[in-house]
């Protein structure tokens, strides 16, 4: 039941709409099968499975709208949720920003669903965990990790004849492997749509090596350094920056993309401005071979490849249908992200080069290699300044080689500055549902040292 076929979803949503007495009705149906295993101290700690389907019904009368949802699917339960949404709509005041529902759309074909991931079962998970635990034990290290797989489907139908449907699978694995004395720590992360690509033993070998290599990190003076950021170190900063690119907040003067001049007639936002190094191109593409996504947004609007930043220029800013109409701009939706492992995160692709991480290290005279950043928090929404710390593998590079491990740093930096200080971009890798290149950046600001390992 949790994962419905296109036909099953269509039949169910048609039934839901048959109960509707509203002037307009829009329904979202989401299903998820989610399995996980967790281990720590070289032993399994918890594991579980979750199955769930949710129906959300949004009804409207004029500019009044109400929303209700359920996970029960008897006829009575379906009628009840439809009536509940209508009752809330009647009680609601007019929403001056209400927009009528969309008509039918055409969607691209996408490749988001893999049977290998559907076939993952508890024993597969247990063996995947054991591959990491056994390799750690063999090296007298202490492993902890988490493997999570999901199959999801999403469907949208409304009373104007729109219907959208797609299925997706994902599997992700993270491991933190530490030396028994707690003086070294390494980490690795892998995620794919296709579980056949997941090799927890290969991945754990990287965390094991970093764990052993990071023992007794030396203290370096905080300051501005050339850094090589692995994709895991930049993905959250880039996703945070993307989520701050909304046109409305920019037009309202409360975003890093707000127009600089307050004079009458001056542009309200920075669309079309070159704000980054010309090598920066960031886009979302449902048909991306490595980071695909649903070809529609939550309201059923078709979503196709959209370049947010191209050759360093801000080319597209997401908006709502209300704001698009009010400002005379095209409606720019973001793809539906649904449930599953990367719920709520728009998958972004950033173009890079051909260099491997190893090549980038070889080509560096003096710098710092950063495995990942942790506890990232915004300091200022205007400059997009963030703080956070390096973690689980920070190394000093000299003359093309990793010379020694160093203590972790706190950073205070903005992705806007980072993307203007690019020395080199490597080959993009999948991380958190995105494709991000390793980056060599100059003058990255480390503000203090941390004793944490």
């Amino acid at each position: 039941m949790a994962i419905m076929t296109r036909e099953e979803a269509k039949a169910l949503l048609t039934k839901v709409l048959s109960y509707s007495k509203a002037e307009a009705c829009e329904c979202n149906l989401d299903g998820e099968v989610n399995g996980n295993i967790r281990y720590a101290r070289n032993t399994v700690s918890t594991s579980g499975e979750l199955n769930d389907v949710n129906l959300t019904v949004q009804s409207s009368f004029g500019k009044k709208q109400g929303t209700a949802s359920t996970n029960e699917f008897t006829d009575a339960a379906i009628e009840k949720v439809v009536r509940a949404s209508e009752e809330l709509a009647r009680l609601a005041p007019d929403n001056p920003e209400f927009m009528p529902i969309l008509g039918p759309q055409e969607y691209e074909k996408v490749n988001t669903h893999f049977q290998s991931t559907v076939d993952v079962d508890p024993s597969w998970r247990a063996e995947a965990a054991d591959a990491s635990i056994a390799a750690s034990k063999a090296n007298n290290l202490v492993s902890s990790g988490y493997l999570n797989d999901s199959e999801t489907f999403a469907a949208v139908m409304n009373s104007k004849g729109l219907f959208a449907y797609n299925k997706m699978t994902n599997v992700s694995f993270t491991a933190t492997i530490r030396t028994a004395d707690g003086k070294g720590s390494g980490w690795v992360s892998r995620d794919f749509n296709d579980a056949k690509k997941m090799d927890t033993k290969e991945a754990s070998a990287i965390a094991i090596q970093k764990s052993m290599d990071s023992v007794d990190g030396k203290a370096m003076e905080p300051g501005r350094y050339t850094v090589i950021m692995e994709p895991a170190a930049t993905v959250q900063l880039l996703q945070n920056m993307f989520s701050a690119m909304n046109q409305r907040t920019a037009d309202e003067g409360r975003s890093f993309l707000s127009g600089k001049s307050k004079e009458e007639g001056a542009p309200k936002n920075r669309l079309g401005e070159k704000m980054f190094d010309e090598r920066v191109t960031i886009y979302t593409d449902p048909q991306s071979p490595d980071a695909p996504t649903h070809p529609f947004s939550g309201d059923g609007a078709a979503f196709r490849r959209t370049d947010w930043i191209k050759d360093g220029v801000v080319t597209t800013m997401p908006n709502s249908r209300y704001w698009a109409e009010k400002t005379g701009m095209p409606y720019v939706p973001t793809p539906y992200t649904g449930g599953g492992l990367f719920a709520g995160q728009t998958p972004i692709n950033m173009d890079g080069g051909d260099e491997s991480l190893e090549d980038m290290i070889k080509n560096t005279r003096r710098g710092v290699l950063v495995t990942r950043l942790w506890y990232i928090r915004q300091l200022d929404p205007q400059s997009l300044m963030y703080t956070g710390l390096t973690r689980d593998g920070t190394f000093y590079i000299e003359n093309g080689e990793i010379k020694y491990p160093i203590k972790n740093f706190r950073f205070n930096e903005s992705p806007i500055v980072m993307l203007n200080n690019i020395e080199a971009l490597g080959k993009p890798q999948r991380i958190n549902g995105c494709m991000i290149p390793p980056m060599k950046l100059r003058d990255f600001n480390f503000s203090s040292l941390s004793d944490a390992v």
């Binding site: 499975e49 929403n95 999570n148 719920a343 703080t387």
Partner: protein, 542 residues
């Protein structure tokens, strides 16, 4: 309910505010329908316990939960949405072959319940082959049939929706007419109706209420914009928290109004708008060393991050290494009996018993009666937070009673109790503490916060910053963040206000675990002084 559904239901992204919601939307009336009666819940619990033990479980516990949420979101002059959610189901946790197993279901038929119990045993047995450290449970008293309710005066779910909507719109209007350009206000209500039973012979029936009413105001000026969040606290109270009684206000001359046992939302929104106008023109802080005076609404988060988390025993042991991290407060430091966590003025305690706190319950989620205990006494580390399967590791005879799960669907595990700083012996006011500072900064409200994975190095911001010169508040300043090391910071504590300044703040959505779960936790403290702390400026032009 995932984030996308939440955004659709609230109609707003809310910027940095992440409100995980458990359950599905239901009509307003449905929230007031009576739940299954206690006798029925006990019968269902026994179905699960019997099914688990008959399959080989040596221990089992069952939680039947009905989780109700209501949230109302108002942006500027409009209401975005009114949403009611409900979630009902059962979670079964077992020990079989010395290993934990868990399963949950919303199928509340006898067959559905028994199947969940059997699945939990099967999971335990499957994982047992990789288990190298069999579970040991600390003894617990058998309490029989007991019940507990949050002591509320006004059930917020019973307050008419119009009254709640009008309150949010009044606050928004107050902010907009006093200089704010934008404001989002949210009223968030939680009611956990939790029934618990275990093979130890305890059956608890608890009715837990929580409420939070934050806002986010923005003012746009000539050269940029500034934001200010509300200074109300999430609480374990009913709608009476929003009465805004005068006797619960603590005014600091030249600075802010602090709120204790009740909160004046409209007044705070008005103050926020006025303070935003000052923020737009305020000078940036000069980086350097300052004596800091931290108000309770700010300090509670510093306590949360630098005391609450590092003293969670599962983190100390490494069970959270792959996510939130481990802890600098290792067992050898505790065993030494001499580890100076803070100065001798620092007394930190844990509890799940403070009235009005988010953690306040009668029994935890494994049937342990809640209590209060010391963590740091006269500056020395003396204890951690531990549950039944950890107590033996720190030579405790019983659990501390801080086991929690966010819903029937998720497995319970060790979560932070309320962790609080005892007030000073002398009953000083906040202004008395400020009066002793020559060159310092008074920080109000929770801002940006970040700490490393072993809880050494942290950096915290705030909502409002005031320069202190010769014992007086001088100017409002901007761009303040302080960086310190946990032990160094707590050892720099030199002065605390007294019990009449003690206030309880908290975090509605503290995250931990994989898959992540949220928990609500409070932290009480008085206005407190820390000497010679490193302050940086977060200002940067890009």
């Amino acid at each position: 309910m995932d984030r996308r559904q939440f955004i659709k239901l609230t109609g707003v992204g809310l910027g940095g505010l992440m409100l995980p919601v458990i359950g599905n939307a239901v009509s307003a009336e449905a929230l007031l329908e009576p739940a299954a009666d206690v006798a029925m819940k006990k019968r269902m619990t026994n179905v699960a316990l019997n099914a688990a033990t008959s399959k080989g479980a040596t221990y089992a516990d069952v939680r039947i939960g009905r989780y109700l949420n209501q949230f109302i979101t108002a942006q500027e002059k409009r209401v975005d949405n009114v949403v009611n959610t409900e979630s009902y189901g059962i979670g079964v946790r077992v020990i079989a072959d010395g290993t934990w197993g868990f399963a949950s279901t919303s199928d509340m038929t006898d067959d559905g319940i028994a199947k969940a119990a059997e699945t939990a045993v099967a999971v335990a047995k499957a994982n047992a082959k990789f288990q190298t450290d069999p579970v040991q449970l600390a003894p617990v008293e058998s309490y029989g049939d007991v019940e507990w309710k949050t002591p509320i005066k006004k059930n917020a779910f019973e307050v008419p929706i119009k009254e709640k909507v009008d309150l949010l719109l009044e606050a928004n209007n107050a902010a907009l007419s006093n200089g704010a350009n934008f404001i989002t206000s949210v009223l968030f209500l939680v009611n956990e109706q939790k029934y618990f039973g275990s093979t130890e012979g305890t059956y608890t029936d608890q009715d837990v209420h929580r409420l939070w009413c934050p806002f986010f105001a923005t003012a746009v000026g000539e050269s940029g914009f500034k934001q200010r969040q509300g200074l109300g606290n999430p609480v374990g109270m009913g709608f009476e928290y929003l009465d805004g009684r005068e006797e619960d206000k603590i005014r600091v001359q030249g600075a802010n109004i602090g709120y204790g046992k009740s909160y004046d939302l409209v007044e705070d929104a008005t103050e926020a708008a006025k303070q935003l106008q000052v923020k737009l023109k305020a000078k940036s802080v000069e980086p350097g060393k300052y004596d800091l005076v931290l108000d309770p609404h700010h300090l509670m988060l510093t306590i949360h991050e630098s005391v609450g988390h590092p003293l969670e025993l599962d983190r100390v042991l490494g069970y959270e290494a792959n996510y939130a991290g481990t802890s600098f407060a290792t067992l050898d430091k505790w065993k030494s009996g001499t580890f100076e966590y803070g100065s001798d003025k620092v007394n930190l305690f844990a509890d799940k018993t403070q009235v009005g706190s988010l953690g306040y319950v009668g029994w935890d989620d494994e049937g342990v009666k809640t209590k209060e205990w010391d963590l740091v006494k006269d500056g020395i580390l003396v204890n951690y937070q531990a549950i039944r399967d950890q107590a033996h590791i720190i030579d405790e005879k019983e659990s501390h009673g801080c086991c929690y799960s966010q819903s029937w669907r998720d497995v319970q595990f060790q979560r932070m109790a309320n962790v609080s700083l005892r007030p000073g012996e002398e009953d000083k006011s906040a202004e008395d503490v400020i009066a002793g500072v020559e060159n310092g900064i008074y920080i109000v409200g929770r801002g940006s916060f970040s700490i490393d994975q072993q809880r050494y190095n942290f950096q915290f911001g705030g909502q409002l910053f005031y320069e202190i010169k010769d014992g007086k508040i001088v100017d409002q300043i901007e761009d303040v963040a302080y960086q310190s090391n946990t032990q160094e910071f707590w050892n720099s504590c030199t002065d605390l206000a007294g019990k009449s300044d003690y206030r309880i703040g908290g975090s509605f959505f503290d995250g931990k675990g994989q898959p992540p779960q949220v928990s609500a936790v409070s932290h009480g403290c008085p206005t407190t002084r820390f000497n010679n702390v490193n302050v940086i400026s977060t200002a940067r032009k890009v």
